[in-house]
């Protein structure tokens, strides 16, 4: 038992140690790229804003834009550790506060989308693997095709046109009808369309991966043994193949979270959903670097953390992982 705990501890330490260079890599990459990006916020004080050179210089000094890059990175990193992501150039608000307001809606939207996608992809993928070239397999292929082949913005607009404009069943934008929470039904009605698009654009990859993972496990020795024992197809599928493919599918889902969040930029922008995606979009189009850096770093760190947690779960669930090379 003691030794077990030791191994677990060593395993955890190793995972943490590999996460550190990744963390620095993420922060350096984000910081450099956005600082090098063309045209600083000062350019935005162009014609019509009534800003003068003096205004620009004053703003530059107040934002610390007059200091050298490495110095700014270190200062920024120090602030990051203190949970201070700086202030938005556009509205002077704390980026941390801006993000805090957006995390809930984002989690709700992407969470619902992913849960829906998993709920569709798991059974469909397993069925497709179970009976290759059957109707299920074709359905899986067709779904993947729509998911891969149709751009997200098109799904959004087609959905709005169909369900809001033509049928009038669902609201075309926003999170609440009247600007604030007014009961779960109202929220759910607003959630269906955007979450449906998030689901549809991520379900293809998941179906494909589930099917592949299931096919793989079906070829493994223990399945053959199970079959040899005389278990029915159905029992083999449900008890063994499905379970065996859960871990790879879970990995796929988690490794897709950045993509799903990225895809939600377009969805949130079109639906006016107050999440991190629309925050990122307005940050990029307004060249509000503090916000873009903040959101990107928060997403990247969240993904890093989820991966760590996932490793931990693997370690707990599957002893082989702990002893092997992580």
């Amino acid at each position: 038992m003691q030794e077990e705990a030791n191994i677990m501890g060593r395993y955890l330490r190793r995972r943490l140690l590999t996460a550190i260079p990744v963390f620095f890599g993420i922060t350096i990459l984000v910081f450099c790229m956005l600082n090098l990006a063309q045209g600083s916020i000062l350019d935005l004080m162009g014609e019509g804003s009534g800003a003068t050179d003096a205004d620009r210089a004053a703003l530059a000094a107040s934002l610390g834009l007059d200091r050298p890059l490495p110095q700014r990175y270190l200062a920024w990193l120090g602030d990051l550790f203190r949970g201070d992501l700086g202030t938005s150039y556009a509205n002077g608000k704390q980026v941390t506060d801006l993000i805090a307001q957006r995390v809930g809606p984002s989690l709700l939207l992407t969470g619902t989308g992913v849960v829906l996608a998993v709920a569709i992809a798991l059974p469909l993928g397993v069925l497709a693997a179970w009976r290759p070239r059957s109707g299920w397999d074709r359905a899986a292929s067709a779904l993947s095709l729509v998911s891969f082949g149709v751009p997200g913005f098109f799904l959004c607009l087609a959905g709005i046109f169909l369900f809001s404009v033509t049928l009038g069943w669902l609201p075309a934008h926003g999170m609440y009808a009247a600007g604030r929470f007014a009961g779960l039904p109202d929220l759910l009605r607003h959630l269906i369309l955007p979450a449906g698009v998030v689901c549809l654009s991520s379900v293809g990859e998941l179906v494909k991966q589930t099917r592949a993972a299931c096919l793989e496990t079906l070829g493994e020795d223990y399945i053959r043994t199970a079959r040899a024992k005389g278990l029915t197809d159905r029992a083999v599928m449900v008890r063994h193949a499905f379970r065996g493919s859960l871990i790879p599918v879970l990995t796929t889902i988690l490794s897709h979270i950045p993509h799903i969040l990225g895809g939600s930029v377009v969805v949130e922008q079109i639906f006016g959903w107050p999440g991190m995606g629309s925050l990122l979009f307005s940050g990029i189009s307004g060249r509000d670097y503090a916000v873009v850096m903040g959101v990107t770093v928060v997403i990247a760190l969240a993904v890093l953390l989820t991966n760590l947690l996932l490793d931990l779960v693997y370690g707990l669930v599957d002893p082989r992982v702990r002893y092997g090379k992580g």
Binding site: Q38, G39, D43, L44, M45, G46, E47, G48, S49, G50, A51, T52, D53, A54, D55, L59, Y89, A90, N91, G92, K93, L98, R102, G104, P105, L107, L108, L109, G111, T112, V115, V118, F153, L157, I160, S164, V165, A172, H173, G174, M175, A178, G179, R180, F181, L184, L187, L246, L250, Q269, I270, F271, G272, P274, S278, L279, S282, R287, V313, V317
Partner: protein, 524 residues
Amino acid sequence: MRRLIALLLAAALTLGLTACGGEEQAAEPVTVRYGLSNAWDSLMPYNSPSGSNYTRIICDKIYDRLAYVHADGTLDPRGATGWESADDGMAVLFHLDEKAAFHDGTPVTAQHWADTISLITDPNCPALGRGTFSVLAGTDSNGCALEGERLGVEAVDEYTLKLTFKSPTTPEDFLLDKNRELYVLPTHLLADTDPAEVMELDLWDAPVGSGPCKFVEEIPGSQLVLEVNQDYQLGCPDFDRLVVTVIDKSNLLPSLISGDLDYYAFGGNVSVEDAETARASGLEVAEGEVPNTFYELMLNCQTIPSAQVRRAIDLALDKEALCLQSTQGLGEPTATDVTPGAEYTCSLTWQRDVEGARTLLEQGGYDGRTYSLACTSNRSGLAALMQQELDEVGINVTIETVDSAALFSGMADGKYDMAIASHTPGALPLWFTASRLSESNNIFHIADLEPYTYYIDQISASAGWEKRQVLLDKLQELLADQRPFIPLWFGRTLHVQSPTVDNIDYPSSSFSNENIWAWRMKGA
């Protein structure tokens, strides 16, 4: 394993749900849902880095302005009930509305207006957009107060505000030009604050103004909830709340049709084709009466130094086709920047002349170099059409698609040779030229501004229509000869009428003000 998955899923759901819910349900207030395609930035009107119309139209709700500007250039009282010239035209007296009050109940006095202007022009105050005040006596060309000089603002008595200018200015000229950038701030709440730290105040997170709406809550960049100010001096609408949501422009019309929006800024503009779609869906569409867009092709006179070449570009462009492409028939090509239908006129005309353009090109010594033409992404079709027309006479152009902020800054830096821009035209003879042909904002990179500023100063200094018209004709002749920018057309817009709200003054919203106090719910 199954339990684990179920647990994870449940956790994700509850996390999401708790993060955004949990409030008590109150009695249903009547809400008007207002769409906006881009976000405002700051709710402190003098701290907006973009200085965009999106910020202006939001500040228009929370803060009060002196007047209400109609699309045709006429003025209505708002913060001021009336105005008159004083000191031989060098000053204007504004008689303020005595009923006006801030949302905290404090009456708005002339002292508030005077203090606001003193604060914003204070060189220690990190205010943005103070250039507005550079017309006032005692300021430099950036709008900063000059030490040792008397600032041209004074509270004559409790409800009379006096502004003194550098050159003679009529109240109408001043308001048409500056009204949308002149707000009154709750200076009684700022009295103890160092001007250098004014922008740091928590006040701007929940601003107090004296406008027709009160701040309730905000998700910056996405949603703003406002409450109607029942005590606004001009009255109040018959709904309770205004919810402003930022949604992509592709979703504005669909949302209005599906009944998820009551109105979208600015003025529910639609193209001619979308108007058909809107009509087919049962919405009413009205046509704007006065031109509300002016398109120009900005030129960089430093990289295109020859006036002949610049005139050749003017002759090469098929303004008829360009205007038709952009306005679908709701516009008129123009040879000048003087707004048609306004008080002042211009007799210059324009006609496409490909041969003439070729001749001028030769005279101007065009060396076949490639010019860069900047435009925003929604105008890349227009730019492509221009590219073909210029190619016809032998001018090579590449198109750079950029966002509008980068477009203007790129023109100012001299990065681009040409750029397509549009503006809200004004009724004043110098609405376009005065600010652009000046040292502080020489966006066309004109080597010698002297000839232009001579006429501009003369026109602003002279009184009387006739004198000004004569000078304006001379200025326009000079512009036609030098062509530092190419006027393209004046366009009108179509306004989709709100299916739920009556009495909206759609066209005036292009001047960044809306008569929200007069809005009425239909069928109420």
